[in-house]
Protein backbone atom coordinates (compact mmCIF):
# COMPACT_ATOMS: atom_id res chain seq x y z
CA UNK A 1 0.00 0.00 0.00
CA UNK A 2 2.73 2.43 0.96
CA UNK A 3 4.58 1.47 -2.22
CA UNK A 4 1.57 2.27 -4.35
CA UNK A 5 1.12 5.68 -2.80
CA UNK A 6 4.79 6.45 -3.18
CA UNK A 7 4.71 5.39 -6.83
CA UNK A 8 1.63 7.45 -7.49
CA UNK A 9 3.01 10.45 -5.67
CA UNK A 10 6.44 10.15 -7.20
CA UNK A 11 5.23 11.31 -10.60
CA UNK A 12 4.05 14.61 -9.19
CA UNK A 13 1.03 16.30 -10.69
CA UNK A 14 0.91 14.11 -13.80
CA UNK A 15 1.40 10.85 -11.94
CA UNK A 16 -1.46 8.66 -13.10
CA UNK A 17 -3.15 11.18 -15.36
CA UNK A 18 -3.37 9.35 -18.71
CA UNK A 19 -3.50 12.61 -20.61
CA UNK A 20 -0.34 14.01 -19.03
CA UNK A 21 1.74 12.44 -21.80
CA UNK A 22 0.12 14.73 -24.37
CA UNK A 23 1.09 17.88 -22.47
CA UNK A 24 3.24 20.23 -24.47
CA UNK A 25 5.85 22.29 -22.73
CA UNK A 26 8.28 24.77 -24.14
CA UNK A 27 11.97 23.92 -24.28
CA UNK A 28 13.10 27.15 -25.91
CA UNK A 29 10.80 30.20 -25.99
CA UNK A 30 10.61 31.75 -29.45
CA UNK A 31 8.27 34.51 -30.53
CA UNK A 32 7.94 35.57 -34.16
CA UNK A 33 5.57 38.39 -35.12
CA UNK A 34 3.47 37.98 -32.01
CA UNK A 35 3.06 34.25 -32.51
CA UNK A 36 4.41 31.89 -29.89
CA UNK A 37 6.46 29.42 -31.95
CA UNK A 38 8.50 28.06 -29.06
CA UNK A 39 10.59 24.96 -29.60
CA UNK A 40 8.58 22.44 -27.56
CA UNK A 41 8.87 18.77 -26.68
CA UNK A 42 6.58 18.16 -29.67
CA UNK A 43 9.00 20.02 -31.95
CA UNK A 44 11.92 18.10 -30.46
CA UNK A 45 10.35 14.75 -31.30
CA UNK A 46 9.45 15.93 -34.78
CA UNK A 47 13.13 16.74 -35.31
CA UNK A 48 14.15 13.36 -33.85
CA UNK A 49 11.65 11.49 -36.03
CA UNK A 50 12.72 13.38 -39.16
CA UNK A 51 16.39 12.75 -38.35
CA UNK A 52 15.83 9.02 -37.80
CA UNK A 53 13.70 8.77 -40.92
CA UNK A 54 16.29 10.58 -42.99
CA UNK A 55 19.29 8.70 -41.60
CA UNK A 56 17.54 5.35 -41.99
CA UNK A 57 17.18 5.94 -45.71
CA UNK A 58 20.37 7.92 -46.29
CA UNK A 59 22.69 5.68 -44.28
CA UNK A 60 20.83 2.55 -45.24
CA UNK A 61 21.27 3.24 -48.92
CA UNK A 62 24.74 4.60 -48.21
CA UNK A 63 26.50 1.40 -49.12
CA UNK A 64 24.68 1.14 -52.45
CA UNK A 65 25.85 -2.44 -52.60
CA UNK A 66 24.74 -4.79 -55.34
CA UNK A 67 23.78 -7.33 -52.69
CA UNK A 68 22.14 -5.12 -50.08
CA UNK A 69 23.33 -4.93 -46.50
CA UNK A 70 20.75 -5.29 -43.72
CA UNK A 71 20.24 -1.53 -43.35
CA UNK A 72 20.17 -1.10 -47.11
CA UNK A 73 17.47 -3.74 -47.37
CA UNK A 74 15.36 -1.84 -44.81
CA UNK A 75 15.78 1.41 -46.76
CA UNK A 76 15.04 -0.27 -50.07
CA UNK A 77 12.04 -2.16 -48.71
CA UNK A 78 10.54 1.08 -47.38
CA UNK A 79 11.25 2.76 -50.71
CA UNK A 80 9.73 -0.08 -52.71
CA UNK A 81 6.68 -0.27 -50.43
CA UNK A 82 5.84 3.38 -51.05
CA UNK A 83 6.87 3.20 -54.73
CA UNK A 84 4.51 0.26 -55.28
CA UNK A 85 1.78 2.01 -53.30
CA UNK A 86 2.07 5.10 -55.51
CA UNK A 87 2.23 3.05 -58.71
CA UNK A 88 -0.75 0.85 -57.78
CA UNK A 89 -2.97 3.62 -56.43
CA UNK A 90 -2.03 6.65 -58.50
CA UNK A 91 -0.48 5.18 -61.62
CA UNK A 92 2.40 6.52 -63.66
CA UNK A 93 1.13 10.08 -63.30
CA UNK A 94 1.93 9.80 -59.58
CA UNK A 95 5.67 9.34 -60.09
CA UNK A 96 6.48 12.99 -59.61
CA UNK A 97 4.57 13.08 -56.31
CA UNK A 98 6.47 10.06 -55.02
CA UNK A 99 9.14 12.02 -53.06
CA UNK A 100 6.44 13.91 -51.16
CA UNK A 101 4.46 10.75 -50.40
CA UNK A 102 7.61 8.92 -49.37
CA UNK A 103 8.59 11.77 -47.05
CA UNK A 104 5.06 11.81 -45.62
CA UNK A 105 5.15 8.06 -44.99
CA UNK A 106 8.58 8.12 -43.36
CA UNK A 107 7.71 11.13 -41.20
CA UNK A 108 4.48 9.56 -39.93
CA UNK A 109 5.89 6.05 -39.56
CA UNK A 110 8.93 7.11 -37.56
CA UNK A 111 6.84 9.71 -35.69
CA UNK A 112 4.37 7.03 -34.64
CA UNK A 113 7.10 4.56 -33.74
CA UNK A 114 9.27 6.95 -31.67
CA UNK A 115 6.06 7.73 -29.82
CA UNK A 116 6.21 4.15 -28.50
CA UNK A 117 9.45 4.89 -26.65
CA UNK A 118 8.57 5.42 -22.97
CA UNK A 119 8.91 9.03 -21.97
CA UNK A 120 8.86 10.28 -25.56
CA UNK A 121 6.25 12.50 -27.14
CA UNK A 122 3.92 11.37 -29.93
CA UNK A 123 3.43 14.43 -32.13
CA UNK A 124 0.99 12.51 -34.36
CA UNK A 125 -1.40 12.32 -31.41
CA UNK A 126 -2.02 16.05 -31.77
CA UNK A 127 -4.90 17.14 -33.95
CA UNK A 128 -3.10 20.42 -34.77
CA UNK A 129 -0.29 18.46 -36.42
CA UNK A 130 -2.41 15.87 -38.23
CA UNK A 131 -5.00 18.43 -39.34
CA UNK A 132 -2.31 20.77 -40.65
CA UNK A 133 -0.79 17.89 -42.65
CA UNK A 134 -4.17 16.70 -43.93
CA UNK A 135 -5.22 20.26 -44.86
CA UNK A 136 -2.06 20.91 -46.83
CA UNK A 137 -2.51 17.61 -48.66
CA UNK A 138 -6.21 18.31 -49.28
CA UNK A 139 -5.59 21.80 -50.64
CA UNK A 140 -2.60 20.69 -52.72
CA UNK A 141 -4.56 17.79 -54.25
CA UNK A 142 -7.53 20.04 -55.00
CA UNK A 143 -5.22 22.54 -56.71
CA UNK A 144 -3.52 19.74 -58.68
CA UNK A 145 -6.94 18.51 -59.85
CA UNK A 146 -8.11 22.02 -60.81
CA UNK A 147 -4.90 22.77 -62.70
CA UNK A 148 -5.01 19.47 -64.55
CA UNK A 149 -8.70 19.35 -65.41
CA UNK A 150 -9.95 22.96 -65.06
CA UNK A 151 -13.72 23.16 -64.52
CA UNK A 152 -14.08 19.48 -65.50
CA UNK A 153 -12.64 18.77 -62.05
CA UNK A 154 -16.10 19.42 -60.59
CA UNK A 155 -17.48 16.33 -62.37
CA UNK A 156 -15.75 14.55 -59.47
CA UNK A 157 -18.83 15.47 -57.43
CA UNK A 158 -21.21 13.71 -59.80
CA UNK A 159 -20.54 10.03 -60.48
CA UNK A 160 -20.29 9.28 -64.17
CA UNK A 161 -23.37 7.56 -65.57
CA UNK A 162 -25.74 8.37 -62.69
CA UNK A 163 -29.21 9.61 -63.73
CA UNK A 164 -29.36 13.40 -63.90
CA UNK A 165 -32.40 13.42 -61.61
CA UNK A 166 -30.26 12.15 -58.74
CA UNK A 167 -27.98 15.19 -58.97
CA UNK A 168 -29.69 17.20 -56.18
CA UNK A 169 -28.98 14.34 -53.76
CA UNK A 170 -25.67 13.06 -55.10
CA UNK A 171 -23.86 16.35 -55.49
CA UNK A 172 -24.30 17.47 -51.85
CA UNK A 173 -23.32 14.00 -50.63
CA UNK A 174 -20.23 13.87 -52.81
CA UNK A 175 -19.34 17.45 -51.85
CA UNK A 176 -19.64 16.72 -48.14
CA UNK A 177 -17.68 13.50 -48.48
CA UNK A 178 -14.98 15.38 -50.37
CA UNK A 179 -14.79 18.20 -47.87
CA UNK A 180 -14.72 15.80 -44.93
CA UNK A 181 -11.59 14.12 -46.29
CA UNK A 182 -9.07 16.28 -44.38
CA UNK A 183 -11.15 15.87 -41.22
CA UNK A 184 -11.39 12.09 -41.46
CA UNK A 185 -7.76 11.81 -42.49
CA UNK A 186 -6.48 13.88 -39.57
CA UNK A 187 -8.94 12.61 -36.93
CA UNK A 188 -8.23 8.97 -37.83
CA UNK A 189 -4.51 9.32 -37.15
CA UNK A 190 -4.83 11.61 -34.14
CA UNK A 191 -7.56 9.53 -32.49
CA UNK A 192 -5.80 6.23 -33.07
CA UNK A 193 -2.54 7.45 -31.62
CA UNK A 194 -4.15 9.26 -28.70
CA UNK A 195 -6.50 6.46 -27.72
CA UNK A 196 -3.77 3.85 -27.94
CA UNK A 197 -1.38 5.80 -25.78
CA UNK A 198 -4.09 6.71 -23.29
CA UNK A 199 -5.10 3.07 -23.03
CA UNK A 200 -1.50 2.03 -22.39
CA UNK A 201 -1.21 4.62 -19.66
CA UNK A 202 -4.54 3.65 -18.04
CA UNK A 203 -3.62 -0.04 -17.98
CA UNK A 204 -0.14 0.77 -16.73
CA UNK A 205 -1.80 2.75 -13.91
CA UNK A 206 -3.88 -0.29 -13.01
CA UNK A 207 -0.71 -2.37 -12.85
CA UNK A 208 0.81 0.14 -10.42
CA UNK A 209 -2.35 0.51 -8.34
CA UNK A 210 -2.93 -3.23 -7.97
CA UNK A 211 0.58 -3.84 -6.67
CA UNK A 212 3.06 -6.61 -7.35
CA UNK A 213 0.64 -9.58 -7.23
CA UNK A 214 -2.61 -8.07 -8.57
CA UNK A 215 -0.77 -6.07 -11.17
CA UNK A 216 0.37 -9.10 -13.14
CA UNK A 217 -2.86 -9.36 -15.13
CA UNK A 218 -2.87 -5.72 -16.30
CA UNK A 219 0.86 -5.99 -16.97
CA UNK A 220 0.32 -9.00 -19.25
CA UNK A 221 -2.46 -7.07 -20.97
CA UNK A 222 -0.14 -4.10 -21.27
CA UNK A 223 2.48 -6.20 -23.05
CA UNK A 224 -0.14 -7.43 -25.53
CA UNK A 225 -1.53 -3.98 -26.15
CA UNK A 226 1.98 -2.59 -26.59
CA UNK A 227 2.50 -5.06 -29.43
CA UNK A 228 -0.85 -4.02 -30.86
CA UNK A 229 0.16 -0.36 -30.60
CA UNK A 230 3.30 -1.02 -32.68
CA UNK A 231 1.04 -2.51 -35.33
CA UNK A 232 -1.31 0.48 -35.12
CA UNK A 233 1.65 2.87 -35.35
CA UNK A 234 2.82 1.32 -38.62
CA UNK A 235 -0.70 0.73 -39.93
CA UNK A 236 -1.91 4.29 -39.36
CA UNK A 237 1.11 5.73 -41.15
CA UNK A 238 0.33 3.35 -44.02
CA UNK A 239 -3.38 4.23 -44.02
CA UNK A 240 -2.70 7.96 -44.00
CA UNK A 241 -0.29 7.57 -46.91
CA UNK A 242 -2.47 5.25 -48.97
CA UNK A 243 -5.50 7.54 -48.55
CA UNK A 244 -3.36 10.42 -49.76
CA UNK A 245 -2.52 8.29 -52.81
CA UNK A 246 -6.20 7.51 -53.43
CA UNK A 247 -7.20 11.18 -53.13
CA UNK A 248 -4.38 12.08 -55.51
CA UNK A 249 -5.61 9.44 -57.93
CA UNK A 250 -9.12 10.93 -57.82
CA UNK A 251 -7.76 14.39 -58.57
CA UNK A 252 -5.56 13.14 -61.43
CA UNK A 253 -8.00 10.74 -63.07
CA UNK A 254 -11.48 11.94 -61.86
CA UNK A 255 -12.78 8.47 -60.88
Amino acid sequence: MADKDAAAGGHGGGGLDPLHQFQIHSILDINIGGYDVSFTNSSLWMVIAAAIGYLLIRQGAGAGALVPTRMQLIAETLYMTVANMVRDNVGDAGRKYFPFIFTLFMFLLVGNLVGMVPGSFTFTSHIAVTFALASVIFIAITVIGLVKHGLKFFTLFFPHGAPLATAPILIPIELISYLSRPVSLSVRLFANMMVGHTLLKVIASFAIMLGVVGGIAPLALLVGITALEFLVAALQAYVFTILTCIYLHDALHLH
Partner: protein, 164 residues
Protein backbone atom coordinates in the same frame (compact mmCIF):
# COMPACT_ATOMS: atom_id res chain seq x y z
CA UNK B 1 -7.43 17.38 -23.46
CA UNK B 2 -4.10 19.09 -24.15
CA UNK B 3 -4.70 18.54 -27.89
CA UNK B 4 -7.40 21.21 -27.96
CA UNK B 5 -5.38 23.82 -26.10
CA UNK B 6 -4.81 26.51 -28.74
CA UNK B 7 -1.74 27.86 -26.91
CA UNK B 8 0.59 25.62 -28.89
CA UNK B 9 -1.20 25.50 -32.26
CA UNK B 10 1.06 28.09 -33.85
CA UNK B 11 4.20 26.43 -32.54
CA UNK B 12 3.01 22.98 -33.61
CA UNK B 13 2.22 24.06 -37.16
CA UNK B 14 5.34 26.22 -37.46
CA UNK B 15 7.67 23.37 -36.46
CA UNK B 16 5.73 20.83 -38.48
CA UNK B 17 6.16 22.91 -41.64
CA UNK B 18 9.82 23.57 -40.87
CA UNK B 19 10.72 19.98 -40.00
CA UNK B 20 8.67 18.45 -42.79
CA UNK B 21 10.12 20.84 -45.37
CA UNK B 22 13.64 20.06 -44.18
CA UNK B 23 12.98 16.33 -44.29
CA UNK B 24 11.46 16.65 -47.78
CA UNK B 25 14.46 18.61 -49.00
CA UNK B 26 16.92 16.09 -47.54
CA UNK B 27 14.94 13.20 -48.95
CA UNK B 28 14.83 14.53 -52.52
CA UNK B 29 18.43 15.81 -52.46
CA UNK B 30 20.26 13.08 -50.60
CA UNK B 31 18.31 10.01 -49.53
CA UNK B 32 16.02 9.11 -52.44
CA UNK B 33 18.66 9.48 -55.20
CA UNK B 34 20.92 7.10 -53.30
CA UNK B 35 18.26 4.43 -52.99
CA UNK B 36 17.30 4.91 -56.62
CA UNK B 37 20.92 4.67 -57.70
CA UNK B 38 21.37 1.34 -55.90
CA UNK B 39 18.07 -0.02 -57.24
CA UNK B 40 18.80 1.13 -60.79
CA UNK B 41 22.32 -0.31 -60.67
CA UNK B 42 20.94 -3.62 -59.48
CA UNK B 43 18.14 -3.82 -62.02
CA UNK B 44 20.57 -2.80 -64.78
CA UNK B 45 23.02 -5.46 -63.67
CA UNK B 46 20.29 -8.09 -63.59
CA UNK B 47 18.95 -6.94 -66.96
CA UNK B 48 22.48 -6.94 -68.37
CA UNK B 49 23.09 -10.45 -67.13
CA UNK B 50 19.78 -11.60 -68.53
CA UNK B 51 20.55 -9.98 -71.88
CA UNK B 52 23.97 -11.60 -71.94
CA UNK B 53 22.46 -14.97 -71.09
CA UNK B 54 19.90 -14.55 -73.87
CA UNK B 55 22.68 -13.58 -76.32
CA UNK B 56 24.77 -16.58 -75.33
CA UNK B 57 21.78 -18.84 -75.65
CA UNK B 58 21.16 -17.47 -79.13
CA UNK B 59 24.77 -18.05 -80.05
CA UNK B 60 24.59 -21.60 -78.73
CA UNK B 61 21.43 -22.20 -80.75
CA UNK B 62 23.12 -20.80 -83.87
CA UNK B 63 26.18 -23.00 -83.30
CA UNK B 64 23.96 -26.02 -82.80
CA UNK B 65 22.10 -25.16 -86.00
CA UNK B 66 25.39 -24.81 -87.92
CA UNK B 67 26.53 -28.12 -86.52
CA UNK B 68 23.30 -29.78 -87.59
CA UNK B 69 23.59 -28.28 -91.06
CA UNK B 70 27.22 -29.46 -91.39
CA UNK B 71 26.21 -32.90 -90.21
CA UNK B 72 23.37 -33.04 -92.72
CA UNK B 73 25.69 -31.85 -95.51
CA UNK B 74 28.30 -34.46 -94.60
CA UNK B 75 25.62 -37.14 -94.57
CA UNK B 76 24.43 -36.04 -98.01
CA UNK B 77 27.98 -36.08 -99.33
CA UNK B 78 28.58 -39.54 -97.91
CA UNK B 79 25.39 -40.77 -99.51
CA UNK B 80 26.42 -39.26 -102.86
CA UNK B 81 29.85 -40.88 -102.68
CA UNK B 82 28.31 -44.21 -101.76
CA UNK B 83 25.83 -43.94 -104.61
CA UNK B 84 28.57 -43.01 -107.09
CA UNK B 85 30.74 -45.92 -105.94
CA UNK B 86 27.76 -48.25 -106.19
CA UNK B 87 26.95 -47.00 -109.67
CA UNK B 88 30.60 -47.36 -110.77
CA UNK B 89 30.84 -50.90 -109.47
CA UNK B 90 27.48 -51.75 -111.06
CA UNK B 91 28.69 -50.37 -114.41
CA UNK B 92 31.91 -52.38 -114.11
CA UNK B 93 29.93 -55.45 -113.26
CA UNK B 94 27.54 -54.91 -116.20
CA UNK B 95 30.50 -54.37 -118.55
CA UNK B 96 32.23 -57.53 -117.38
CA UNK B 97 29.01 -59.49 -117.57
CA UNK B 98 28.44 -58.19 -121.11
CA UNK B 99 31.98 -59.10 -122.10
CA UNK B 100 31.62 -62.50 -120.55
CA UNK B 101 28.23 -62.97 -122.21
CA UNK B 102 29.68 -62.00 -125.60
CA UNK B 103 32.59 -64.37 -125.16
CA UNK B 104 30.29 -67.19 -124.10
CA UNK B 105 28.01 -66.45 -127.05
CA UNK B 106 31.00 -66.46 -129.39
CA UNK B 107 32.25 -69.76 -127.98
CA UNK B 108 28.75 -71.23 -128.13
CA UNK B 109 28.35 -70.15 -131.73
CA UNK B 110 31.72 -71.67 -132.58
CA UNK B 111 30.82 -74.87 -130.81
CA UNK B 112 27.42 -74.98 -132.51
CA UNK B 113 28.96 -74.47 -135.94
CA UNK B 114 31.47 -77.22 -135.16
CA UNK B 115 28.64 -79.48 -134.03
CA UNK B 116 26.68 -78.59 -137.19
CA UNK B 117 29.68 -79.41 -139.41
CA UNK B 118 30.22 -82.67 -137.59
CA UNK B 119 26.55 -83.58 -137.99
CA UNK B 120 26.55 -82.67 -141.68
CA UNK B 121 29.65 -84.77 -142.08
CA UNK B 122 28.01 -87.57 -140.15
CA UNK B 123 24.83 -87.26 -142.21
CA UNK B 124 26.89 -87.39 -145.39
CA UNK B 125 28.60 -90.57 -144.22
CA UNK B 126 25.17 -91.99 -143.29
CA UNK B 127 24.14 -91.54 -146.96
CA UNK B 128 27.32 -93.26 -148.24
CA UNK B 129 26.89 -96.08 -145.71
CA UNK B 130 23.22 -96.41 -146.63
CA UNK B 131 24.09 -96.61 -150.36
CA UNK B 132 26.74 -99.26 -149.73
CA UNK B 133 24.44 -101.12 -147.39
CA UNK B 134 21.62 -100.97 -149.93
CA UNK B 135 23.94 -102.28 -152.70
CA UNK B 136 25.22 -105.02 -150.45
CA UNK B 137 21.76 -106.04 -149.16
CA UNK B 138 20.26 -106.02 -152.65
CA UNK B 139 23.15 -108.09 -154.08
CA UNK B 140 22.90 -110.63 -151.30
CA UNK B 141 19.11 -110.93 -151.47
CA UNK B 142 18.63 -110.86 -155.23
CA UNK B 143 22.06 -111.73 -156.49
CA UNK B 144 21.93 -108.83 -158.90
CA UNK B 145 24.45 -106.08 -158.63
CA UNK B 146 22.99 -102.66 -158.30
CA UNK B 147 24.65 -99.68 -159.86
CA UNK B 148 25.99 -97.25 -157.31
CA UNK B 149 24.12 -94.36 -158.98
CA UNK B 150 20.85 -96.25 -158.81
CA UNK B 151 21.32 -97.08 -155.14
CA UNK B 152 22.23 -93.46 -154.38
CA UNK B 153 19.04 -92.29 -156.14
CA UNK B 154 16.88 -94.66 -154.04
CA UNK B 155 18.58 -93.67 -150.79
CA UNK B 156 18.17 -89.97 -151.63
CA UNK B 157 14.46 -90.55 -152.34
CA UNK B 158 13.99 -92.24 -148.96
CA UNK B 159 15.99 -89.59 -147.17
CA UNK B 160 13.92 -86.90 -148.90
CA UNK B 161 10.72 -88.60 -147.86
CA UNK B 162 11.87 -88.66 -144.23
CA UNK B 163 12.70 -85.01 -144.33
CA UNK B 164 16.46 -85.13 -144.67
Amino acid sequence: MPQFDPTWFASQIFWLVLVFAALYWLMIKRAIPRVEKALTARSERIQGDLDRAAKLQQEAAAASEAHQAALAKAKDEARDILRAAHAASQAELDKRQEQLGAEIAKQTAAAESRIGAARDAAMASVRDIAIETAQAVTERLTGAAVEQAQAAKAVDAVLERRGH
